[in-house]
C-alpha cells in the first residue's frame, strides 16, 4: 500500500501550490454516529470509485442498537485490484471525541487525522500523525444555515475529501443529485451548499495534503461494461433474479434480511413473489413448496435460522427437490454476535441434518462473486435436483464493492416451469438416472401420479422398508453429488505452483489471503494461494496440488476446535489424510487482516525471511537454515 503521505514528513508544511502526489490507493476511516450519514459518505465514495473505474472496497460497522450510537465506515479506494479493506487507515476522519478515542489506534503512524475541531481535542503534540483541525460542525451550520443545524456534516466532509484526493467533482455532484433528487429541492440545494463549503475550505489549512490516484491501466479494463457498486447481499439477490428465481420465502434476521427485503420488493416486477413467513421452518417449507411446483425457490437466514431449517433441508435432500438456501454467516453459536463476521457454519452447511444427506455447499469470494455464485448455485440445483447452500457472511453482506456490470443478455435464465406431459415410463426416483420431478399440473402418461416423500422410497415414490432399496437410494443421492464434484473446474491457484507453503482460504477470506500471499512472496518465500468456492463436493485435483507444498495453511474465521483445526482444515485433513494441513484460525468477529494471515503462516513455516519481514525474532534452531 502506498501511503498518502510519507512517514518521513509528518505534518510537513508544503506550499499550497505543490502538485498532488500520486498514490496507488488509500484507506479512509470515517468515525461518527450512525445518524450522521457516515454510511452515505462511504457510499458516495464507493460509487464514485466505481464510476471512475477505480477499485473500491468498504467495511462498515453498524451498531446493533436500533438508532444512534457510534458507527464507522471504512473505504479503500484506488487503482488496480483492491483485495481487502485495509489493515490500518491512512486517514481517519473523527467527528466526535469518542470517535477519536476509539479509532486513533487504527490510524497508521504517519497517517492523517482530520478531526472536527468543534468536538474533538486530540492529544497535543502527538507527532505520530498529521493532525488537521477542521471546524466540520460550524462550517456546515454556516454553509447550510437554517433549521437543519449540523445536518449535512457528512456532505461537508465529502467535499473536503474531494478536494484532498482530487476527486471528480462533477461526478460527485451528479451522485448527490441522484441520491437526494427524489426529495424536495431544498435537500439537494443544502447538500450542495455543504459540499461546496467543504470543498472550498481554505486550502492552505490543508498544507500539503493533496493527492491524485495513479492513472488506470486501461488495458486491464477489458469488459467494456461500466462498473456497478453494491453490497454482497444485493449482488446475491440480483444474481438469483438473473438465474430465473422468481419465488422465495424467509423470516427476518440480521444480516440476511436485506436479501429478503430486496427480493420482496423486486420479485413482483418480475411476476414473482417472496413470502415473509411465521418462522424459518415455514419459510424453507414454503420455498420447497414453490420448487415442487417447478419454480426453483430460495430461502435463507443467518445463524439461528439455519438451525431451524435443518429438518426440512433433510427432506429436500431425501425427496430430491431443488432449492437454494443462503446462509449469511454471523458470529455464533446461538444469538452470538449478530453484527460480526464468522465462518463457523461450514460443518453445519455440509452435515447439519440427521442421516446421510449429501449436499452442495458453495461460498462466494467477494461481492461480485455473490452475483455469479447465485447463478452457479441455481444451475447446480436444477441439474442435480438438489438443495444448494450458499455460505456468504456478514462482511460480504455489508460491504460495498465496485465490479463490472454483468453481461445480462448472456446470463439470463428462463424462469418458466416445465409442466410438459411426462411419458408412461415416468418415475420420480429412477435408480439409473438423476431425478427430474414432474410438478403438479403436468400429466403423467401412465396415469399413475407420483408422491414426493421423505420416507425411504422405491423408484415410484412408494414408501419402502427394504434394506436393498435404502442402500441403492442412498447411493443414488450420493452419486449425483459425486458426479457434480467430478465436473467442477480446478480452483484458482495464485503465486508459486510449488513452494514452501500453500495458503488455503474460503469465502470472504479470499482477498486478505491473496494480499497475504503477495507479502509472503515479496519476503522471498515461494508460496501459493488456493481459494475454494466449492466446499462440498470438493473439486478434483486438490490432492496433487497439496503434494507440491510441505505445508498447507488454511486460514478461516472460526475456532480451532478441540483438535486444533478450523472447520475447512478438519474437512481437508479428513478428505486427503495429509498431515501437512494446518490451521490459522481466529474468533474476534472481524475479517482477517492481511498481517494476521502472514503472521499465522510464519508461525507454521518458520521461515527466516518471513520472520525478518515481520520483525519476529526466534531461536535460530527453529528457523530454517
Amino acid at each position: 500500500m502506498v501511503s498518502p503521505n510519507t512517514p518521513e514528513t509528518p505534518g510537513g508544511v508544503a506550499a499550497p501550490s505543490a502538485p498532488p502526489r500520486a498514490i496507488h490507493d488509500v484507506v479512509i476511516r470515517l468515525a461518527g454516529n450512525s445518524q450522521d450519514g457516515i454510511q452515505s459518505v462511504g457510499g458516495f465514495l464507493a460509487r464514485l470509485a466505481g464510476r471512475s473505474d477505480q477499485d473500491v472496497m468498504t467495511y462498515m460497522t453498524i451498531p446493533s442498537t436500533i438508532s444512534g450510537g457510534p458507527s464507522i465506515f471504512q473505504v479503500r479506494m484506488g487503482t488496480g485490484d483492491i483485495l481487502s479493506s485495509g489493515d490500518r487507515a491512512d486517514m481517519l476522519v473523527a467527528f466526535y471525541q469518542h470517535s477519536y478515542d476509539a479509532h486513533i489506534g487504527s490510524l497508521r503512524p504517519g497517517g492523517v487525522l482530520l478531526y472536527d475541531s468543534d468536538h474533538v481535542k486530540p492529544v497535543e503534540g502527538d507527532n505520530r500523525f498529521t493532525q488537521v483541525a477542521v471546524p466540520i460542525t460550524s462550517g456546515t451550520v454556516e454553509a447550510v444555515g437554517g433549521a437543519g443545524k449540523d445536518k449535512g456534516k457528512n456532505i461537508y466532509i465529502l467535499g473536503l475529501l474531494a478536494r484532498v484526493f482530487d476527486l471528480d467533482v462533477a461526478k460527485l455532484a451528479a451522485l448527490i443529485k441522484e441520491r437526494f433528487g427524489g426529495k424536495n429541492e431544498d435537500v439537494v440545494r443544502n447538500a450542495m451548499l455543504a459540499f461546496d463549503a467543504g470543498h472550498a475550505w481554505p486550502q492552505n489549512n490543508l498544507r500539503d495534503l493533496f493527492y491524485r490516484f495513479e492513472a488506470i491501466d486501461l488495458a486491464t479494463q477489458t469488459s467494456g461494461r461500466p462498473q456497478v457498486t453494491m453490497d454482497g447481499n444485493q449482488a446475491l439477490a440480483y444474481g438469483l433474479l438473473a438465474a430465473g428465481v422468481r419465488h422465495g420465502a424467509g423470516y427476518p434476521i440480521t444480516p440476511w434480511s436485506s436479501i429478503m427485503e430486496t427480493l420482496r420488493t423486486e420479485l413482483p416486477k418480475y411476476g414473482g413473489l417472496f413470502v415473509q413467513c411465521e418462522d424459518e421452518i415455514a419459510a424453507i417449507s414454503t420455498a420447497i413448496g414453490f420448487s415442487y411446483t417447478g419454480h426453483l425457490a430460495i430461502t435463507g437466514s443467518s445463524g439461528p435460522g439455519l438451525s431451524l431449517k435443518m429438518e426440512a433441508l433433510g427432506w429436500a435432500t431425501m425427496a430430491e427437490m431443488p432449492l437454494i438456501v443462503v446462509n449469511v454467516q454471523r458470529g455464533g453459536p446461538s444469538t452470538g454476535m449478530p453484527t460480526n463476521v464468522e465462518q463457523s457454519d461450514l460443518m453445519q452447511a455440509i452435515y447439519g441434518s440427521h442421516g446421510d444427506t449429501p449436499r452442495v455447499v458453495l461460498s462466494p469470494k467477494n461481492v461480485e462473486d455473490c452475483f455469479y455464485i447465485a447463478l452457479e448455485a441455481c444451475r447446480i440445483a436444477r441439474t442435480y435436483s438438489t438443495p444448494v447452500l450458499i455460505l456468504t457472511d456478514m462482511a460480504l453482506a455489508s460491504r460495498i464493492e465496485a465490479f463490472d456490470e454483468p453481461d445480462f443478455p448472456k446470463l439470463m435464465v428462463d424462469p418458466k416451469a416445465d409442466l410438459s406431459d411426462r411419458g408412461a415410463d415416468f418415475k420420480p426416483y429412477p435408480l439409473d438416472a438423476i431425478t427430474r420431478h414432474a410438478p403438479p399440473g403436468s400429466k403423467i402418461g401412465s396415469g399413475k401420479y407420483p408422491t414426493v416423500t421423505g420416507l425411504e422410497h422405491d423408484e415410484l415414490g412408494h414408501p419402502t422398508g427394504s434394506s436393498k432399496l435404502h442402500t441403492q437410494m442412498t447411493a443414488k443421492r450420493r452419486d449425483k453429488i459425486k458426479h457434480l464434484g467430478a465436473s467442477l473446474p480446478s480452483p484458482e491457484l495464485s503465486g508459486d505452483s510449488a513452494g514452501e507453503v500453500l495458503l488455503v482460504t474460503w469465502g470472504s477470506t479470499w482477498g486478505p489471503g491473496l494480499e497475504a500471499l503477495k507479502r509472503i512472496n515479496s519476503a522471498g518465500v515461494k508460496a501459493g494461494h488456493l481459494h475454494l468456492r466449492h466446499l462440498h463436493p470438493l473439486p478434483n485435483g486438490l490432492e496433487a496440488t497439496f503434494q507440491r507444498y510441505p505445508k498447507i495453511v488454511v486460514a478461516e474465521i472460526n475456532d480451532e476446535g478441540l483438535y486444533g483445526y478450523g472447520q475447512l482444515a478438519m474437512l481437508l485433513r479428513a478428505r486427503y489424510a495429509n498431515p501437512a494441513i494446518v490451521s490459522v484460525c481466529k474468533t474476534d468477529g472481524l475479517t482477517f487482516k492481511v498481517s494476521e494471515i502472514v503472521a499465522g503462516v510464519a508461525q507454521h513455516i518458520a521461515s527466516a525471511e518471513l520472520d525478518a519481514s515481520l520483525g519476529i525474532a526466534r531461536p535460530s534452531a527453529l528457523a530454517k537454515s
Binding site: 419465488h247 416486477k269 413448496g289 414453490f290 427432506w315 414426493v452
Partner: protein, 315 residues
C-alpha cells in the same frame, strides 16, 4: 379454486371422468376399522363430484397415521415432515394458481407441532383446503397424549390420565381467521362429502375438522356423537333467509360471534359449517395484485430490461 366465476362454465375435464378406481393408489396401511378409511372414501367421492383435471389435484400431508393419506390417493402429492405441511402447501398454492391443493393430517400434526403454521396460513387466507383427522391421540407413535386428548384420558405419557387442558379445535380454528371452518365425523360419510366439497369450493383457506376414531389407541372416543352407540348427532341448521319464523333460530355462517357460541357448546357439540366468509381476499389474489401493480409501474418491462435498468442506477 374455480368457483368464483359464474360465467363461462368450467371447461369439461379432458379424458375419462375421474372415478374412485382411477383415484385409488396404494392400499391403506391403517388398522382395520380406523376412522381414516371413511375419510379417504369420502374424499374419493368429493373428487368424483368436483371432476377437477386429474393433473391439477395435489394431496399433501405431514407425518402421522392420518398423514399417510397422499399415498392412497392417485394424484400429484407428497408426504412432508411432521407439522409443516401447511407452509409447504402454501408454496404449492402460491406457486401455481391452477392447482387444487388438499392437505391432510392429524390433531398432533395440526394443533401441536404445526399449531403456529395453522394460525399463519389461515390468517393469510392462502387458497387451499385442510382436513384435520382428529382422533384425540397420537396414533403413529402409539398412544401418547395429544393436544385434543380430554383430561383423564390415560396414555403412555399420562399413565394416570391427561392433566393438561385440551384445546377446543373449533374455537382455535375460528381464532386463526380461517375463512371456512367446518366440523364433521368419520361415521357420517355424506356429511363429510358435503363439508369437504364446500371447503374445496371455498376461495381461501378452508378447514374441516373430522372426528376420526383410532380404534387401536382410543376406541370409543367419539361414541357420544354416534346415534347407534347411544350418542346424539347434532347438525348445525344453517340460515336459509326464507323469512320463516324458524329461520330466526338458524345459524348464520357469516356471524363470527354465533360461530364462537357454537364452538363453546358442551361435548360432543354440533357438526356442520361454523363459519364461512368470502369477505377477505385470498393471499393468492393479493399477491397477484402486487404483481399487476408492479408490472404497470414498470410498463411491462422484460426481465432483462428490468435488471439492466436496476444496474444502471448502481453505476
Amino acid at each position: 379454486m374455480s368457483t368464483a366465476l359464474a360465467t363461462p362454465p368450467p371447461p369439461a375435464p379432458a379424458g375419462a371422468p375421474l372415478t374412485k378406481k382411477i383415484l385409488t393408489a396404494d392400499h391403506p396401511t391403517w388398522c382395520p376399522g380406523c376412522g381414516d378409511f371413511a375419510v379417504l372414501a369420502s374424499f374419493y367421492r368429493v373428487l368424483e363430484k368436483l371432476q377437477y383435471p386429474h393433473e391439477k389435484i395435489v394431496t399433501f400431508a405431514g407425518i402421522g397415521c392420518s398423514s399417510r393419506f397422499p399415498y392412497f390417493v392417485n394424484t400429484h402429492g407428497g408426504h412432508y415432515i411432521h407439522g409443516r405441511a401447511l407452509p409447504f402447501a402454501a408454496g404449492i398454492s402460491l406457486g401455481n394458481e391452477d392447482l387444487h391443493v388438499f392437505v391432510f393430517g392429524g390433531d398432533g400434526d395440526g394443533f401441536s407441532i404445526g399449531g403456529n403454521h395453522l394460525v399463519h396460513t389461515a390468517r393469510k387466507n392462502v387458497n387451499l383446503t385442510y382436513v384435520i383427522m382428529d382422533n384425540s391421540v397420537y396414533g403413529l407413535t402409539k398412544k401418547q397424549t395429544s393436544p385434543t386428548s380430554p383430561i383423564g384420558f390415560k396414555t403412555k405419557t399420562d399413565p394416570t390420565g391427561a392433566i393438561d387442558q385440551p384445546i377446543n379445535p373449533m374455537r382455535t380454528l375460528l381464532n386463526t381467521g380461517a375463512t371456512f371452518v367446518a366440523r364433521s365425523h368419520a361415521t357420517q360419510v355424506n356429511h363429510m362429502v358435503e363439508m369437504m366439497t364446500r371447503a374445496a369450493k371455498h376461495p381461501g383457506f378452508s378447514v374441516v375438522e373430522i372426528l376420526s376414531e383410532c380404534v387401536e389407541f382410543y376406541a370409543g372416543a367419539f361414541d357420544s356423537s354416534i346415534p347407534r352407540k347411544g350418542g346424539t348427532w347434532s347438525l348445525i341448521q344453517e340460515k336459509k333467509n326464507d323469512g320463516t319464523p324458524e329461520d330466526a333460530d338458524r345459524h348464520d355462517v357469516t356471524d363470527e360471534v354465533a360461530a364462537f357460541k357454537l364452538a363453546g357448546q358442551a361435548w360432543p357439540g354440533s357438526f356442520g359449517v361454523f363459519y364461512e366468509s368470502n369477505a377477505r381476499k385470498t393471499k393468492n389474489v393479493l399477491e397477484a395484485e402486487l404483481v399487476t401493480k408492479a408490472r404497470e409501474r414498470t410498463k411491462n418491462a422484460s426481465d432483462l430490461q428490468l435488471l439492466q435498468s436496476t444496474f444502471s442506477k448502481m453505476r
